[in-house]
């Protein structure tokens, strides 16, 4: 996913919002007009993250929402910390259960 002006500010270090779907527990990412299971759909929430998190938790759409740092790369957005990259992809030891089950090298993305 390429960077667009709509999504990103002027800095390559951005803030994105993540959490888990209340009902399914799935890892989800704030995509501007709703939640996505693809980290690549994330948008820069700037300083609005905490406010968004409270509102979305109150609306029962997310649990445990929190803001993280991410960087914008040629391949799309990448959480700054390895823990969130693993959340974004899935367990590196079970490629079949990740978001890229057919990419044997997907685990390298988190390292």
């Amino acid at each position: 996913m390429g960077r667009t002006d709509r999504q990103w500010g002027g800095d390559d270090f951005v803030k994105i919002l993540t959490g888990n779907d209340l009902g399914t527990g799935d890892v989800i990412w704030w995509a501007g007009d709703g939640w996505s299971r693809q980290v690549g759909d994330s948008v820069d929430v700037g300083e609005r993250g905490d406010e968004l998190a409270r509102a979305e938790e109150a609306a029962l759409r997310v649990v445990g929402a929190y803001v993280i740092d991410a960087t914008v790369t040629d391949e799309g957005i990448r959480p700054a910390h390895i823990k969130d990259r693993i959340r974004a992809l899935g367990p590196t030891v079970r490629p079949d259960l990740t978001l890229k089950p057919h990419d044997a090298d997907a685990g390298n993305w988190v390292i």
Binding site: N20, G23, D26, V63, P91
Partner: protein, 543 residues
């Protein structure tokens, strides 16, 4: 095996109904997450890295085939086709949906299982020896006492909000296969004349401040074990630190008070307890004990094993242990295939093992703290048939207590507390040391990996231990040598600066090379380390 009476069943069923209502209220928005979180944790439901995780209790690691089959069914129906057996002899499911959790608990209740007290600051699942009831050297089967303690500790109103979680272990052999002295309280049943009682150890544990529990009593008569533990818990509950989560375990209290002062206070409380008549009636232990009486063994069975098949013979030599009943054996099933995930079992594998337990092991199996499974009552004449079926299912690895029999916590691949991934490292190590000849040459070598300081992978107790840490967002691994969770319990010492994932694999190879070069006749790795010390290993690792 113990079977629920109507009281056991009714409290478990009632808990399911209660939790179902709580989940509905949460999903309807009548409970906030802050209100709901302690309720779901009391039922073993965590929110982990990828999803909700359910931890199901397996009391003292004992299961029937019916219960095991239910665990496989849950893996298939509600999860993603597998479960993870833990170092607390529980099973965890990693992909649970909140709305499904009450149904899962209801299904578990139909086979007398639950997830109660698998989280929270309460008394957790009681652990024991996986060879309980079949070990030749035990003074008694420890499980009746473990079951008595399970009943005593379940919903105990005084101990539901302890300063911190509390883990109890009961063994009855000189050989400690359950890391007894690394529990908050460890009980070792012993005999004094004809009387059975318990040695009591308090204040052991791993985590960020590891301690080997000191003995605080050399004999508590069996009728007084519960009230003695009540006294231990009361002193802890009264004075354990609630101001600092990291100093709240009983080991810190025992350390800060000093063993003698803690003992004195416990004895004082124990004397008071005796006046209250709070020991469970003898009839209750007598009611429980027959459930654990030896099963209906056949007599006159042959002891000879046909070792004509070499691969089978190697498996027998490594995975089969002596049973106290002639003609029978104990089978250890490795959940550590080369390159595999320690402790994981697919639903199909769980089903197979349930079938094997039903057909060949008098309907019973065990879970070990080393994340393996045990068929405790196998006729020696059936060993070959079992081995063939295990082999077809990828479960015939012959590596018990060898370097590839690795304990590993879920680590950063699943756990929200972890700092580093344990499983990929375990996989690399098992591949590096995959050669059966090399493993056999290295002999007993217990390798344990934790992905964070909480030490769920028991790294402090590994002959070789590995601790994953976070170095500015990059995984780093500290190496420890010289730990043991057995009867010669000790804590590993850190070698020095940490390593990358590949670096720690190379370092361990150097460590094993030093052992091979310097060992004396009959020495295990741990023996050589204790004799020659850290220095030669450090020199080899760091140059």
């Amino acid at each position: 095996m113990y079977r629920y009476d109507s009281y056991d069943q009714s409290i478990v069923d009632a808990r399911v109904d209660e939790f179902r209502d709580q989940v509905q209220r949460r999903l309807a928005g009548h409970l906030t997450e802050d209100q709901f979180k302690p309720l779901r944790l009391m039922n073993g439901l965590y929110l982990q890295l990828h999803a909700y995780m359910l931890r199901v209790a397996i009391p003292y690691g004992t299961l029937s085939s019916r219960q095991m089959r239910k665990l496989g069914e849950i893996a298939r129906k509600y999860d993603r086709g597998y479960g993870h057996f833990t170092t607390r002899t529980n099973i965890q499911y990693n992909w649970i949906k909140l709305a499904d959790a009450p149904d899962i608990l209801a299904e578990l209740a139909t086979v007398e299982m639950h997830a109660i007290q698998t989280s929270g600051n309460c008394i957790r699942n009681i652990s024991s020896d996986q060879y309980a009831g079949v070990a030749a050297d035990e003074v008694a089967d420890p499980r009746p006492w473990a079951e008595l303690l399970r009943q005593w500790s379940t919903f105990h109103p005084e101990f539901t909000y302890l300063p911190r979680k509390f883990k109890i272990c009961v063994i009855a052999s000189e050989d400690d296969r359950a890391a007894m002295r690394l529990h908050d309280i460890g009980l070792k049943l012993v005999k004094r004349g004809d009387a059975i009682g318990a040695e009591v150890y308090a204040g052991g544990g791993m985590g960020r401040t590891p301690m080997v529990g000191p003995q605080i009593r050399d004999f508590v008569p069996e009728d007084e074990i519960v009230s003695y533990l009540e006294a231990c818990l009361r002193v802890y509950n009264r004075y354990g630190r609630r101001d600092n989560k990291f100093k709240a375990r009983i080991k810190i209290l025992v350390h800060e008070l000093g063993v003698e002062e803690y003992k004195r206070q416990v004895e004082e409380e124990f004397a008071h307890m005796k006046t209250l008549g709070l020991n469970p009636p003898r009839e209750e232990l007598d009611r429980i004990r027959p459930f654990f009486a030896g099963p209906a063994y056949e007599h006159g069975l042959p002891d000879a094993i046909d070792r004509g098949d070499l691969a089978f013979a190697l498996w027998v030599d490594r995975q089969v242990a002596a049973h106290r009943q002639p003609g029978y054996a104990i089978v250890n099933i490795s959940l550590k295939p080369t390159g595999g995930i320690p402790g994981d079992a697919s639903a199909d594998q769980i089903d197979l093992i349930a079938d094997l337990a039903e057909q060949y092991s008098l309907d019973e199996l065990r879970v070990t703290h080393a994340q393996n499974l045990v068929l405790p009552h196998v006729r020696k004449a059936d060993l070959h048939a079992i081995w063939r079926k295990l082999d077809e299912a990828g479960l015939a690895e012959a590596n018990l207590d060898l370097i590839t029999d690795i304990i590993a916590c879920p680590g950063l691949d699943y756990c929200s507390l972890a700092n580093a991934r344990s499983i990929p490292l375990a996989q690399k190590l098992s591949e590096r040391f995959a050669s059966p000849e090399r493993q056999k040459d290295l002999g007993e070598l217990k390798l344990k990996i934790s992905g964070c300081i909480n030490a769920c992978g028991h790294h402090h107790a590994g002959h070789i231990g590995i601790l994953g840490v976070d170095r500015k967002g990059v995984e780093n691994f500290q190496l420890l040598l010289g730990g043991s969770g057995a009867e010669d319990a000790s804590l590993g010492q850190i070698t020095g600066p940490g390593f990358s994932e590949d670096g720690v694999v190379d370092a361990i190879e150097k460590v094993t090379d030093i052992y091979l070069a310097q060992r004396e006749q009959g020495e295990r790795f741990l023996d050589t380390y204790r004799r020659i010390g850290m220095k030669p290993f450090k020199e080899a690792i760091y140059g």
